[in-house]
Symmetry: C2
Subunit: 128 residues, 2 copies
DNA sequence: ATAAAGCCGACAAGAATTGTCGGCTTTTAA
DNA sequence: TTAAAAGCCGACAATTCTTGTCGGCTTTAT
């Protein structure tokens, strides 16, 4: 519970890697997975998801790879994590039955705190 | 990821239930599990863990059950969740290899935010 | 003495996470 | 124009975590 998934760890590390380069150059999965010690096939899925939400651009073929889709200061940790996780913190099957639940507020506040924290950090912040 | 476990949901609900009663009376697993729709056997393990860290007192035999070990205003959501979960938010196998990791700060801040939030709410707050 | 409880350890089912594979398409460079 | 380098995609396998169950034991009030 509240444990950071490998997927998000890998995803954020890969994005920070690209942000550090800060160029129009494309970097391949092979390169990223090697430098960041991320399982190649797993990273492929991760980058594919990040591409679908337009955080990175992909190019096929020789000299292909990935590049950030926008400036590091316009990509937050939340953008990345939200793209990779089904981020519905509380999923309570009892909520329907209980008129006014005294515990829901706890989980809601945690949800808010997590999202606020994630939103407050951009890739640019992380590499500076 | 960052999903609230049933275990903590159940644990907190059970503790709030006891806090609402706010008496020296003992309430049985049967009672709590019935009123809060929590699987009996699962709740038994949960309460047993809460007893081990002295958040509740248990009494065996007829008329036995559980009661809060101290005042609701002296029990925080964090006390309860920490007792039930292995709460090491980040567990990164790459940390050893990377001299200075640019992403660790993200996870550390989230950890802080979660704990601060949990710590800020007592059972007494929740039932008022 | 008996019944109502909690205690404990083992274990089983289910779900989520993590990782792998094979074959496909696109792109570039020789 | 063809071969190699890359990304794309869907399926699936391994592992781990969560959730739940069970049987037998001990303690306690009546
Ligand atoms: S009833 Fe769903 S969180 Fe309380
Ligand atoms: S290397 Fe472990 S969190 Fe970055």
């Amino acid at each position: 519970m509240f444990k950071v998934s490998k997927k998000s760890q890998y995803g954020l590390r890969a994005m920070v890697y690209l942000a550090k380069k800060d160029s129009k150059e494309f970097f391949s999965l092979k390169d990223i997975s090697g430098k960041e010690s991320i399982p190649f096939d797993f990273l492929e899925k991760i980058m594919s998801e990040l591409e679908k939400v337009k955080l990175v651009k992909a190019k096929k073929g020789i000299q292909g790879g990935y590049v950030l889709a926008r400036n590091p200061e316009r990509i937050t940790a939340k953008d990345i994590v939200s793209a990779l996780e089904n981020t519905t913190a509380v999923d309570c099957s009892f909520c329907g039955k209980s008129k006014k639940c005294l515990t829901k507020n706890v989980w809601r506040k945690i949800d808010v705190a997590i999202n606020k924290t994630l939103k407050s950090m951009t890739l640019s912040d992380l590499i500076s």
